[in-house]
């Protein structure tokens, strides 16, 4: 039988079609003039000196790791929120313990300075 995701699928197809059409159109229409100075990456008229594929600050990696930890926490919270009324006091206390543990984790990360950007 028809699934409730069929409309989502149809809509995704339509969106992909629109996006592909736009990309194809823009690469077909319009001039194509290539010369050496123009093909340089734009840096306000100065030739690039540094290589963009260089290293960057470790803080961005830390943010990515923290994201995984806390987003999984959010994933646990969604189903709990939906059945919250049925779970009652037991579910509430249980989730508060879980959030408490994660809160301690947040305080630890905070005190360690992982969230500082100087």
């Amino acid at each position: 039988m028809l699934n409730q995701y069929v409309p989502v699928f149809v809509m995704t197809l339509a969106a992909c079609g629109t996006a592909v059409a736009m990309i194809v159109l823009t690469s077909l229409i319009g001039p194509k003039k290539e010369f050496d100075d123009k093909m340089e990456p734009f840096e306000c008229g100065v030739s690039p000196v540094a290589d963009p594929k260089a290293r960057f600050s470790v803080r961005f990696y830390i943010i990515a790791m923290l994201f995984i930890l806390f987003d999984i926490e959010a994933v646990f919270l969604f189903p709990w929120a939906v059945v919250f009324r049925e779970l009652g006091m037991f579910g509430f206390v249980e989730m508060m313990v879980f959030l408490g543990v994660l809160g301690v984790g947040l305080v630890y990360v905070w005190k360690k300075g992982a969230l500082e950007w100087e």
């Binding site: 149809v10 809509m11 995704t12 961005f60």
Partner: protein, 369 residues
């Protein structure tokens, strides 16, 4: 009341027809009305706010139509521009990035109800493209894919500024995604569901609107939504005074327009989510579905439902337009935050407040029960 377990078991042809009409309607609203017009609204509104005349140059035979023709000239200009890819760029990813940015922005609208459920000539019309039980979770999932578009664009351009913009956008979107998910947990606890149509139906009573039940969640959510939208005051990934244009510096023509469109469509989606979760969706304060249907009862049961439906759809889009106006107002009022301020707001203020909000909401629900 309504049957929420609405599943299309009945008839294939009316179901497919209804689905196509809804998809075409939302697509034409997004691509035909909002994507081109918001560019004009942004210019005209900023001009009014800054006491300028603004957007009044393009004309046909001397008629400028409030500068609306700039929309048309923009489209022609972007279409005929050269599609530029810098030397050393990753061509495949350079093509892929705008695609990944724009598709989620178009698809995210699927679960937002733009009207209630109406019995028309024996066919039950449900004004939402896909009435998914995961509802809001679907929007989170789809919207977060859009982040890849920006990050890949920054990486693929072989430009230092683009890469910096791409990294910033990655860290900012990840930080605020955590907070955004947590700010809405309160709403799901209050209504006990993730399904957007049920949340909308539960707001038939004016005092059960999300803004009254979850005021703190509302303010936290709107801050996160602004940050996810990457517009001023959270536009550090594309800060033009430091990074040229951030991750889409090396994009031109329609590929540039796709990033621009994605940003506007995200704004429409954010407004629609705000309306659906906090401002009663398609509901009119103090006027229930039944009252409207009875008022137009002299038209016969079917036409009365049609008129009710049209009024509800109109009310929904009016609320969305009001929210777009407010978001534009914020964008043209506040200056840009510094990067450390943005990260501090996300991790040290919104995240703890959202957790406290969940605990308080839970305690209040248990006490009131």
């Amino acid at each position: 009341m309504f049957d929420y377990t609405y599943l299309p078991e009945m008839n294939l042809i009316p179901y497919l027809a209804e689905m196509m009409v809804k998809i075409v309607f939302i697509f034409s609203m997004n691509m035909g009305v909002f994507a081109p017009l918001l560019g004009w609204v942004e210019r005209k509104q900023s001009a009014l706010m800054q006491d300028r005349i603004g957007a009044n140059r393009a004309d046909i035979f001397g008629f400028t139509v409030f500068g609306l023709l700039h929309t048309l000239t923009d489209a022609i200009k972007l279409l005929t521009k050269e599609d530029f890819i810098p030397r050393g760029a990753d061509r495949t990813l350079h093509y892929l990035a705008p695609f990944i940015a724009v598709v989620p922005a178009l698809v995210a609208f699927a679960v937002i109800p733009f009207g209630g459920q109406y019995e028309l000539w024996g066919h039950k019309a449900n004004l939402v493209i896909a009435d998914l039980d995961v509802g809001m979770l679907y929007i989170f999932a789809v919207a977060s894919v859009g982040t890849y578009g920006a990050v890949i664009a920054g990486w693929a351009s072989n430009n230092n500024w683009s890469l910096l913009g791409g990294i910033r956008v990655g860290a900012q979107m990840l930080s605020y995604e955590v907070a955004m998910g947590l700010t809405l947990v309160g709403i799901f606890m209050v209504y006990g569901t993730l399904r957007m149509t049920e949340i909308g139906a539960a707001q038939e009573n004016f005092f059960h609107w999300g803004i009254f039940l979850q005021p703190v969640g509302f303010f936290l959510f709107i801050a996160c939504a602004l940050a996810e939208n990457k517009r001023t005051p959270f536009d550090i990934p594309e800060a033009e005074s430091e990074l040229i244009a951030g991750y889409f510096t090396e994009y031109s023509g329609l590929k540039f327009a796709m990033f621009w469109m994605a940003e506007f469509l995200e704004m429409v989606t954010i407004s629609a989510v705000l309306v659906a979760l906090f401002f009663g969706g398609w509901q009119i304060p103090f006027v229930s579905h039944q009252m409207l249907a009875d008022f137009f009862g002299f038209l016969g049961p079917n036409l009365a439902q049609v008129v009710t439906m049209l009024i509800h759809v109109g009310v929904f889009w009016a609320k969305v337009c009001l929210w777009i106006f407010i978001l534009m107002l914020i964008r043209w009022t506040l200056p840009r935050f510094r990067y450390d301020q943005v990260m501090k707001l996300g991790w040290k203020i919104i995240l703890p407040l959202a957790l406290i909000n969940i605990a308080v909401t839970g305690a209040v629900i248990l006490l009131v029960r």
